[in-house]
């Protein structure tokens, strides 16, 4: 049976790495977008306070809200990370599966 486990493992690792490399810029982009949104909202809150449109209590309340918004953003990053891991595992398993199929074909 033509099945080289070392070669298969190497190929599996390469497939997983390819997924990580391909998906990383996407995650980086999401983090950057979240940080930019945070910056804009914090600036909005600061300007409203500096212009006297809101008082200290109101600013505190909106900053408290902003913490929750930021958490929602980080949860999106968590989903991205999990999805990337899922795709990498599946790409590696796919390589393994194909190697087994090929070995079987040669046997038959």
């Amino acid at each position: 049976m033509d099945f080289d486990i070392n070669k298969t493992l190497e190929d599996m690792l390469a497939a997983a790495t390819k997924v990580f490399t391909g998906k990383w810029p996407e995650i980086e982009g999401i983090v950057k977008t979240i940080m930019q949104n945070e910056k804009e909202t914090l600036l909005m809150i600061a300007e409203a306070r500096l212009n006297g449109e809101i008082d200290d209590d109101e600013m505190k309340g909106r900053l408290k809200q902003e913490k929750k918004v930021f958490k929602a953003g980080l949860l999106a990053v968590e989903i991205a990370g999990k999805k990337m891991a899922q795709d990498a595992i599946n790409a590696a398993l796919d390589v393994f599966w194909k190697a087994v199929k090929t070995a079987l074909v040669t046997v038959l």
């Binding site: 209590d57 809200q65 929602a72 999990k82 796919d94 087994v100 046997v107």
Partner: protein, 210 residues
């Protein structure tokens, strides 16, 4: 001979199946949920568009409460939709954050009513009590309620907190929803909807994206 038959069957199975087995760490993409996020985000933004069109002294909670409740119902339905899906912890938490944020904004607006316009004394008392409870400090959670009922029996700092909240609440009740606050709330809600949408879209597999 027997071995050959077994291998042939195995080979057939392998050829028919596109892949061995796949691992799932996040829930499957759901187009209906994506649509529900977009629809609720649109409805919320329209609400703010209308609020900001009104002069500040006419943004009364009572005239907007129906719309608040309608959006709250949509958000609760989003929470439910997410809770019904497996491997969906992050999206469930995101939708709960959204609900919490919305209830906070709704209650804050409810507490910005002109007390003089409330004809009934009981209505005034009820609203003030509601607002004090709502605005309680994190470090006093659980104490304020008690303090409110039996002021003498509770901690000194919480007694002071209650007194402070009383005066600030009465002050705030004269205001309506300020333009700056409405703009900040609109931006924060838009961001949460956006993060929920990103989360849902990320669940799409390459084949679904095509």
């Amino acid at each position: 001979m027997m071995k050959g038959k077994v291998l042939a069957i195995l080979w057939l199975i392998l050829m028919v199946m596109p892949s061995g087995c796949s691992v799932r760490l996040v829930s499957q993409y759901d187009a209906d949920t994506e649509k529900a996020i977009v629809d609720t985000a649109k409805k919320t933004d329209l609400f703010y568009g209308k609020v900001l069109e009104l002069p500040q002294d006419q943004r009364h909670y009572a005239s907007l409460s129906d719309q608040y409740v309608s959006i709250e119902t949509d958000i609760r339905s989003l929470v439910l939709r997410n809770e019904a899906r497996r491997l969906n912890a992050e999206s469930i938490e995101q939708s709960k954050i959204l609900l919490n944020l919305w209830l906070g904004i709704k209650n804050d607006h409810r507490c910005r009513q002109d007390m003089a316009k409330l004809k009934d004394d009981n209505d005034r008392k009820e609203l003030t009590a509601f607002c004090i409870k709502w605005q309680q400090d994190d470090n006093c959670t659980g104490f304020i309620d008690e303090c409110y009922k039996t002021v003498d029996a509770c901690r000194e700092d919480c007694k002071n907190a209650v007194k402070l909240k009383w005066s600030k609440t009465e002050e705030r009740l004269k205001d309506t929803y300020k333009t700056a606050l409405a703009r900040i709330d609109r931006a924060q809600l838009k961001n949460v909807f956006f993060y929920m949408l990103i989360g849902e879209k990320l669940k799409q597999d390459s084949a679904e994206k095509k």
